[in-house]
Structure formats: structure tokens, C-alpha cells
Amino acid sequence: MKRLQLILVLLLSIMVFKGAFAAAGDELLKLPVQDAGRIKPYDTFSKEMLEIVHGKSKFEGRGAAEIVMTWMLSPQSWQTKKIFEVRNHEVLKALGLPAVERYFSGDEIFSSPQFGSLIQDLQSKRETKEKLTPYFQALQRLEDQLSVFREIAGGNMLRLIPPKEGTVWLSVVQFEGEQQTAFAVLTKSFIGYIGGVASHVSASELKQLASEMDSAVLAFREVARKNNPGLYSVDTKVNVEVFYNHFHPFRWAYIFYLLSSLVLLMVWSMNKITWMKAAWAFASVGFLLHTFGFVIRMYLMDRAPVTNMYETVVWMSWGALLFSAILEWIYKFRFILLAGTLGAMVSLIVADTAPAVLDPSLIPLEPVLRSNYWLTVHVMTITISYAAFFLAFVLGDIGLIYYIRGEEKHQDKIKAITTSVYRAMQIGVVFLAPGIILGGIWADYSWGRFWGWDPKETWALIALLGYLAVLHGRLGGWLKNFGMIASGVITFSLVIMAWYGVNFVLGAGLHSYGFGAGGVEYVSAFIAAHFLLVLYAWLVRKK
């Protein structure tokens, strides 16, 4: 037990040191920028911009804060750098660029004689107001990438000073007098600092350069504040956001879930029951960090973070862990907690590694979704029900593994898993049915119709009907243990359709504010693999 405490303390302290303490040169990251309808730290702004253009938050090992600033300071030096990410092969073919590469320079793209006519094609396609095909979506992305780069390079997009009147902040090209001077001092100290990094000066010299840059940034902030102090009182939020960006609470959460899962796997395979405490401890720390990250997002946006795919994945995995802990506490089957930690870990890793599909940026809400109590309750209720179904799904997978390893030997385990799957499904139904009804009430309250066969609500209903059919089938006695375990896995595909498929495959309806594209092939493969797993377990059982 003592050893366990020691490990925990050690891990926590590494985490805190890595994330929380400011280093010299960090002031630039905290510089407030107005972009996309809110004030964000330069740290977030530069990361988002580099992700738009390059698809990653780093370029050649250098951080986004540095890269994006140099776009503005010396755009010509970037003309030949392969910074634009183009993945669509059709677009590459149309541009006459090699399909084996993924990154291209501005020169390569602009010098293509077809470039202009492609953008014109896109424009006329847009005028028809039809849904854009993946090819045109890719073209549109390229257009966005180029325009973001050009606007930043031209100094139009970086809005750093609040206006005396109105709400639109002043961009770099609009600076006057002392604003210009202060910004020039800032850029000079910035160039000095990155010059120092590039020429490998000594640590103390570098620190000196960094603190020079810090004081230049602070001086600039004073000038900016002077222009309109009321609009510039954003320090706390900006600081918290920078902390959030660097602390990665969800990454730490899944690391702890991983540790917990490993311990649980050992408990499971070697029957070391005394280790359960360690598993609980790791899972709890992970859960606390998970909650912490969630609360920070809530604080930053003044709303419950459940309005896009990324946020619902984070919320759903939180719920899966919570439900698994509750069920584990009641039944003490041990693999329930394992299902919870494994499930939460995998979801958080997916959320962390696929920013193109699951966009982690903090985006202001569409009017329909604003300041609405019902919305929050309805979305949270429905997605938390998906958490329970997800738990049933992971438990189902574990059950299938037992079937494959031999039904006879593991009778008692299989029975216990069946009970857990059944319970998890019940929890899901208890949340999903009222969640759908709350959605109806919200729709009735907001735009006067209780039910309108909108695809998103219809698929949530289909998922509910699917689970109701399973539960009734169990009552009728047609679904035995294998039937329940297999249903836990198969029926979850309805949830995936309701949750992901409607937005990314069907792409129609009133819920269009949550739409995006991408990842369809991975998700289909995921579902197909699980159907095959069920089939295989069935065949093994038949023999």
C-alpha cells in the first residue's frame, strides 16, 4: 500500500511540474487575441491556425506560437516550406501534384496552372447550394488553409487590441502610434529569442532573451489595455486556458485509466485480489482529473461542454467510468471496473488523437443552443445513456472473449457478465427515454413542435427501440446469456449511428450545427470488426 502511495505522489508531482508552472517566455502565450467570436490566448490561436493549415500543432518540431508569428514577420521565407496539408488524392491529381506526398509549399500549389480554375469550380458548386462532395470539401479546406495563411501573413487576422468603440478588435495592420512601437518592440524581442534558440546560446543567455520578450509582451499588453480597459479584463480566463492547453487533463486521465486497467488485468489474470485497491486508486485519480478538465472547459465557455462530438465523447467516457464504478461497487465482479477504465481510456485516446474529426477547440454556440437550460439537460441525459450502452458494449466484448476461450470453463463469469450487460442496458434506457422526451419538450418550447422526425432525434429513438426490443426479448426468454452479450455489442451500432452516423453519414436535418466529416471508414471498420467477433464467438460456441 505504501508503495502505491509513493507511486501516486510521484506521478502527481511530475504532472503538476510539467503543466502548471510558468517558464520564462510564456507571456507571449497568454497574449489575448480576438478570434472566431471570442477572446482566446495567443497560445490557443496559434495552435488552431497551425492545425488548420498543417493539420498538426507543431511544424518541424517547433511550436505553433513561434511558427505562426514568423508567418507574419517573414511570409516570403515560408513560400517554399511544405506547410500545407492536402490529403485528398483527387485534389492532388487535379493540381498535378504527386499523390504520395501529403505536405506542399505555397509555391507548389499556386504555381499549379489549374489552381485558379479549381477554386472557380468550387465557387460555382457552392452557388448551386448542393451538398459538397468529399472532393469539394477537400478543395474548400485548401481554400481555407490558403486564406488563413494569407490573412495571418498580411497581419489582418491577429487582432490584439480592443477597439475604443464597437466590438471588433484592431488587427496588427490597424495599429497606430505607440501601439505600433510597442508591437515592434515585441516582435524584435521575439526574433531575438528564436534567434537565440536557433544558434544554441547558453541557458542563461536564453533565459535572459526570454525574459526580455516577456517584458516586451507585458508592455504591449499595457498599451492594449489603455485603449479600452473594459474589454481587456480577460486575464484570468486567458491564463486558465493556457494552463488547460498545457496541462492536458484528459491525457493524464487516460494515463491513469491505463494504469488502472493494467492493474485490473493482473487482478483478473493472476487473481491478485489485494491489488483491487490500487486499481480503484488509479481509476479515482483518473476520474478526478477527467472531472477537473471538464470543469475547466465549463468555466472557459460558461456552458456545459456537450455541444460537439469531441465534448460528448469526453462526457460519455466520464459517464461510462462513473456507471462502471457504481455497478462494480454493487456487484464486485471486478471486470465491470475494467470495462469502464478500458472504455474511458480508449475513448479519451481517440478524442485526443483525431482533432480533424473530433474538434477539441472551444467554439461559441449557435443561437438555438444558447443559454438554454433544457438543451443542456437533454443532451447530457441522452449522451450519458450512451455511456451506459457503451459500458454494456465493452462488457459484451469481454463476454465474447470468455465464449471464445471456452463456455464450459467460464460459466459463472459469463452469467455475471450477462447480469452486468443487462443492468448497464437498463441504466441506459432509464436515461435515454427521458432524454428523448426532454428533447421533445425542448423542441416544443423553442420552436413549437414536440416531435418532427428530425434524423438525430429519430435515430436516438431507433436506438431506444433497439434496446427495448432486447430487454423485452430477455423478458420473453428468447435471449439467453449469449444472446444478451451479443446484443450488448451489436445494438451499440445503433448508438454509433445515432451519435456519429447521423452527423457524419446522413448529414441532414435540424441538428446541422453539429456536423462534420471524416473518419467514416474507421468507424465502419470498427463496427464490422465487432460483428465479426460476435460471429466468430457464435461459431466457436456452435462447435
Binding site: 478588435w169 441504466i427 432509464v430 427521458p434
Partner: protein, 463 residues
């Protein structure tokens, strides 16, 4: 014997097997509905899936099965509470939906900024025919509800409306078309049709090419493009305080008279005659050239229809009309004029309009935007209703008046300036609302109880 049969039937209706079959077929059918909606649109999904006999049969079977199972378990015990609650809740939800479907009204009301409107547009469509002998006074000949989407007319099965001079026949229908207006010279001039003018206005920043067509002879038709307006029709003696050009057709001649006014003087600035292919300079402060590209003393309008597989925001639907040996197309929510030697008929095909009984006037429309962007953060309409007063309608804050609930739905804005032009409200009357709310509440209680009782029940078969 009869009792035995009754019992058997009840057992069957109350069986879990039937329940599962109903649940699965409902899930399957509505899944198809969502796919139809994604390929076509919400209207198609409604007409082909959700508002069909199939759907109603499944819903009916569901209601019967729910009732049967409750009768079957009579007398109820405490452990039956969750299932009774849940099932009664669902029955009430179904009942409420039937009420809404039968007696509810759901339409949209578009009100331009600074104006009023009291007509609600609902999804049902009608064909209306008016007739006139003198071209001024019209009388309604026929008003007929039609559903061309589900029952398209064809040459074999036309929709006929009889008039004094033969029948107006609808003989075709296209669901999704992109229309383009075509103006041609009338094939059989009769002196009553209006003139058509295609002009071009050009300088270094502007290049506008448009048609102006008079609805009938001697009418005034206008094309307004902000700094100036062009009219086809009789010119007034004095200017109206803006930059304007009046083109007047001259009987028996293929040239037009034109009169130019400038906004700061009453007297005409310039006048003259112009023919097809000729141009002139109005002489305003802004340098501009006006060219007459085409001119028909008697013009006929027609639609050039490009048919599409599936709808886009630019498509509409169109029906073919045959009358007096000629055929023409009429677009949804448009009118068509048919001439014979004695009479003029006006045909309209479009969404039904319901009179609210009161006028909603949009005083002001306010859009809040996210800082530094054009993205709307919130919007609200400041409306007034006579006998009621002023009220603010915003998202989630509807107005209830005379049994109607008026919701903020969306708005239209000028694509160039971003200024709001009109507010769109969704207006409804829903007598089933409270039944649905009650059903929701009872069903939710049932589901929560189910969980509670499950913990107690040994075998877990409370249902």
C-alpha cells in the same frame, strides 16, 4: 367458445413476441425515413414514410398491443406499477400525436421589417382559378386542394378544372426543378399582354442585365437596384425624388419612349426614343450607360426547367398546365395567366394560406453577433399586434395569443450588407400538447419505477 377465442386473441395481442415484432418494425421503418430525408428532404420523408398507412398501422398495432397487455395483466398489483405507468404514458403520447395531427395547425409566417402579415403559410397545397372578362375584376372559379407530390397529374390522369371556355388541365408534375425565366414575343398577339424589356446597365463597377415584364398592357413594372430604378409603363409628369427611367411602349411601333428623372428635380432630365440594340446615357451624376437588349411589345413568359434527382435549396416544383391547345408550366407558389379571345384566367398553385385573424407587425428586428464576427449569437423580433400591444419574441421566448403560439424560427438578411430583411416565425396551435406532456411525465415515472422495482423483484419479470 366465443370466450375462449376472445382469450386467445387477447393472449396473442398481449404477447411479448408481438411487442418485439412491432418495436423492431417501427425502428426499421423510421430508419428508412431518415435515409429518405438524407437523400431527398424532410417533405419527402414525411410523404413517403412518416405520414403513410404503414406508419399509422404500426402505431395502431402498438397502441392495441399496449392496451391488450394491460388488460391481460388485470387485476394489477403493486409490482405492475412501472409497466402500467410506462405503457399508459406511451398510449397518451400516441393519443396526443393523433390530436395534433387531426386538429393542430403548424405553419410559418414571414414578416418583412417594418411591415405586417396575417397570413400563415401551411404545407398543404391548393389550385385556385380566377376568371375575368374585362381584365380588371376577377372572380374565383375554383379552389381545390391537391397533393401533386403524392398524386402527380399525368396526361392519362389529369386534374381538370372546368371554365366557361373549356377545361384547364394539369397534365404533368416535376418534383425538383431549377427554373430559369424565359421571355419571348407572344405567338398570338391580342393587345392585352404586357410588354417585355431586357436592358443592360453598365459602367466601370456595375453590370446588370435583367428583364422587366408588364403583367398586362399598361401596367407599371419596375426593376429597382438601389441607387436608381427602371420602369416599364406610363411616365408621370413629375419626378418622384429619385433617379428613375420610364420606358413607355408605343402602340404599333417597335421603339420605346424613355423619360429620365433625377432625384433632386421634378422636371425630366432627358427624354427620347430607343430601339432594340440601341443605347443612351441618362446623364445622371454617376456615369452610366443604358442599353436596350431586347424589346417585345407583347411578351410571353415561360419557364425553362432543369430537372434534378434530389432537392437543393434552389429547386422548386412545377406543374404542367394545358389549356386551349397550348401548354405551359406553373411553379409552386406562382401564378399563370391564360388568355382566350373572350376571357383571362389566372391560375395559382401553392401552399395554402390561413388567416390568423390578426396582423403581426414587425417593428424591429435585432441580431446580436459574436464579437468581431458576422455569426449570429441571438436574435429577437419586436412585434406589435392591434388589441394586444407590443411584445418581444426571441428564440425560446414565444408569444401566446388567441390560441396560437408564435415562435422565432429564423430570419432573412441581405446577402451583401447583412442587414436583416424579414423575420420568419413558426406559428402553431396544438390541442394535443398537454396530453403529450402528461404522457411524457407518466412514462418517465414508469421507467424510473421500473428500475426501482427491478431491484426488489426476484426474477425480474415485473412486466
Amino acid at each position: 367458445m366465443l370466450q375462449k377465442w376472445m382469450k386467445k386473441i387477447l393472449k396473442f395481442l398481449a404477447s411479448l413476441k408481438l411487442a418485439v415484432v412491432i418495436i423492431l418494425s417501427l425502428a426499421f421503418l423510421i430508419a428508412i425515413g431518415t435515409i429518405v430525408e438524407s437523400k431527398y428532404d424532410a417533405i419527402a420523408a414525411k410523404k413517403w414514410v412518416y405520414d403513410t398507412v404503414w406508419m399509422y398501422s404500426i402505431m395502431g398495432a402498438l397502441a392495441v398491443s399496449l392496451v391488450a397487455v394491460m388488460v391481460d395483466r388485470w387485476p394489477w398489483k403493486t409490482r405492475h406499477a412501472p409497466f402500467v405507468f410506462a405503457h399508459i404514458g406511451i398510449i397518451l403520447l400516441l393519443l396526443g400525436s393523433v390530436m395534433t395531427l387531426q386538429f393542430g395547425i403548424d405553419g410559418s409566417l414571414r414578416v418583412p421589417v417594418g411591415q405586417g402579415n396575417q397570413f400563415l403559410v401551411v404545407p398543404e397545397t391548393d389550385v385556385l382559378v380566377y376568371s375575368s372578362f374585362d381584365g380588371d375584376r376577377y372572380t374565383k372559379l375554383e379552389e381545390r386542394p391537391v397533393d401533386f407530390f403524392l398524386h402527380p397529374p399525368s396526361p392519362e390522369k389529369p386534374v381538370e378544372i372546368s371554365t366557361y371556355t373549356g377545361a384547364i388541365k394539369f397534365t404533368g408534375y416535376k418534383k425538383y426543378v431549377i427554373p430559369k425565366r424565359m421571355v419571348t414575343a407572344a405567338r398570338e398577339p391580342n393587345g392585352r399582354r404586357g410588354a417585355g424589356l431586357r436592358f443592360q446597365i453598365q459602367n466601370s463597377n456595375v453590370n446588370v442585365v435583367e428583364w422587366i415584364v408588364q403583367r398586362r398592357a399598361k401596367d407599371l413594372a419596375t426593376h429597382d437596384f438601389g441607387p436608381a430604378a427602371l420602369h416599364l409603363g406610363e411616365a408621370p409628369a413629375k419626378g418622384q425624388g429619385r433617379n428613375e427611367i420610364f420606358f413607355t411602349p408605343q402602340v404599333g411601333k417597335d421603339s420605346l419612349k424613355y423619360v429620365v428623372f433625377q432625384k433632386d428635380q421634378d422636371r425630366p432630365l432627358k427624354s427620347g426614343e430607343v430601339k432594340e440594340g440601341e443605347m443612351f446615357v441618362p446623364g445622371w451624376k454617376m456615369p452610366i450607360e443604358v442599353r436596350v437588349l431586347r424589346y417585345f411589345p407583347e411578351a410571353e413568359e415561360a419557364w425553362d426547367l432543369q430537372e434534378r434527382e434530389s432537392p437543393t435549396p434552389l429547386t422548386t416544383s412545377a406543374a404542367r398546365v394545358e389549356f386551349d391547345g397550348k401548354e405551359s408550366w406553373i411553379l409552386l407558389n406562382d401564378t399563370l395567366k391564360l388568355f382566350t379571345s373572350e376571357a383571362v384566367y389566372i391560375v395559382t398553385y401553392g401552399n395554402r394560406r390561413l388567416d390568423l385573424g390578426f396582423q403581426v407587425v414587425l417593428q424591429n428586428f435585432i441580431v446580436d453577433r459574436y464579437q468581431g464576427t458576422m455569426r449570429a449569437a441571438a436574435y429577437k423580433s419586436h412585434v406589435s399586434i392591434a388589441d394586444f400591444g407590443e411584445h418581444e419574441i426571441s428564440m425560446n421566448e414565444p408569444l401566446k395569443y388567441k390560441g396560437f403560439t408564435i415562435y422565432q424560427a429564423s430570419f432573412e438578411d441581405d446577402p451583401k450588407t447583412g442587414q436583416p430583411l424579414a423575420s420568419v416565425f413558426s406559428v402553431n396551435q396544438d390541442p394535443g400538447r398537454w396530453i403529450k406532456y402528461l404522457g411524457s411525465l407518466i412514462m418517465s415515472i414508469g421507467i424510473i419505477l421500473l428500475f426501482y422495482f427491478k431491484q426488489k423483484a426476484k426474477k425480474g419479470n415485473a412486466t
